[in-house]
Symmetry: C2
Subunit: 245 residues, 2 copies
């Protein structure tokens, strides 16, 4: 038996998220189907990040065990023949038999993109959240600075979360303007349920002047989901980097 690690890219638009669910289209479901067909044994992958419906990834990670003689590096080619065009395996390799993508220390980077122009741009509609309300990037940056470091992010966690602790560490959080888009880039060891989208939604509140940057300290201290801004729409979010330490 070998443990194989896959690096998986997908366009989340037409998926009900990563995690396997009956009767709906999920990335995990497509991977299981393609792998089981290729290897002629029932395969169930274990995913690293269970992204939500509509969220994209350049590099999510999945592992599974197989006795197949196919060389691990060749699996990506064979799998891509069997996957739909909105999922593509970017790499495949053998890893240690005890490697588990959710238990291994890691660093994830997400990007949240906002198209901040007069009108939506059709070619960006799947990959950037559109708002015509002018956002002040400098205010967003000032607000973002309060979130960097180790904090209790209970205010930035969806109610449905079952996490044992709401303490997390944000290593870096930047806000940049790129033409008509605003790019929020956040790197951390792990994120609570909907945390990145609530951070993005709250930074947008600061950008439009509904809250002042210094209020971010109060929002953190409240440890209450009601204190933070809305959850920003899924389409703007992409998992862009996944490092195992």
């Amino acid at each position: 038996m070998k443990r194989i690690k896959l690096v998986v890219a997908y366009d989340g638009t037409d998926f009900r998220g990563w995690q396997l669910q009956p009767k709906v289209r999920t990335v995990e479901g497509e991977l299981n189907r393609a792998l089981s067909g290729l290897l002629r044994e029932e395969i169930q992958v274990t995913g690293a990040s269970r992204t939500d419906s509509g969220v994209h990834a350049l590099c999510n990670v999945a592992v599974f065990d197989t006795g197949s003689p196919i060389p691990p590096a060749k699996l990506s080619w064979a799998l891509n023949q069997r996957l739909p065009e909105d999922v593509r395996v970017q790499d495949s390799c053998e890893v240690a038999a005890d490697f588990h993508p959710r238990r291994c220390p890691s660093r994830k980077t997400y990007e949240y993109r906002i198209l901040n122009s007069r009108f939506p741009l059709p070619t960006r509609r799947r990959y950037a959240h559109f708002t015509y309300v002018p956002l002040n990037v400098e205010k967003m940056r000032q607000a973002a600075a309060y979130l960097v470091g180790e904090h209790d992010f209970a205010s930035f966690c969806a109610a449905a979360s079952t996490a044992e602790t709401t303490v997390r560490t944000i290593h870096a959080l930047s806000v940049e303007r790129e033409g008509e888009e605003i790019l929020i880039r956040v790197c951390g060891s792990g994120f609570l349920y909907n945390m990145v989208r609530i951070v993005a939604g709250t930074l947008m509140e600061a950008g439009r002047g509904h809250i002042e940057p210094w209020q971010m300290a109060d929002i953190l201290n409240a440890r209450d989901r009601q204190a933070a801004g809305p959850t920003a729409p899924a389409c703007g979010l992409t998992l862009v980097k996944y490092e195992f330490l």
Copy 2:
């Protein structure tokens, strides 16, 4: 009567191109439908660039005449309520009664994007042509230099063209690497049918070493479509700028 100019952005993926055709979905057809419904009169727009099936635009131009009292600048908002999400009017304004977008001297800029990596990236599949064959950007750049200026581009014109002359001027043609993508950017006063895609396809032939850059002079001189490379796929092409001089 007023003549109104619209700046139109669209994702060409799900359109059979710009130009009105019976029974298929076209950008012109969607604009006519939305305008006729909004203004309660039969409107037929005149387009600037008749882009092909699958080609995108940030700023194609359409004009029409109307006696409507709606202020021209407000039309874009009202129209966007009636258009499908893959077309969005970016601007609307009144122009001179004799303004015709195809007869007015203009300068157009197209971008052709190639994803040159091991595997396709699902989030780029609609907007960049994928090839895993390594392309040498420096060779592509050397080949591109031969095409800048006024030339007879008969070798770069699809057979179906009805153009009176195949002489055109390319003002600028650049090839840049942006991460895993190669961006070809071409600016000219006008292009023959499929010309930008044939230029992209021929530069790719230079990039993979099938032709040497100096052979571009022979290809131009041949004045024969067979001398140039293949027509690159539509998905990589976007009309990004349209200036009236």
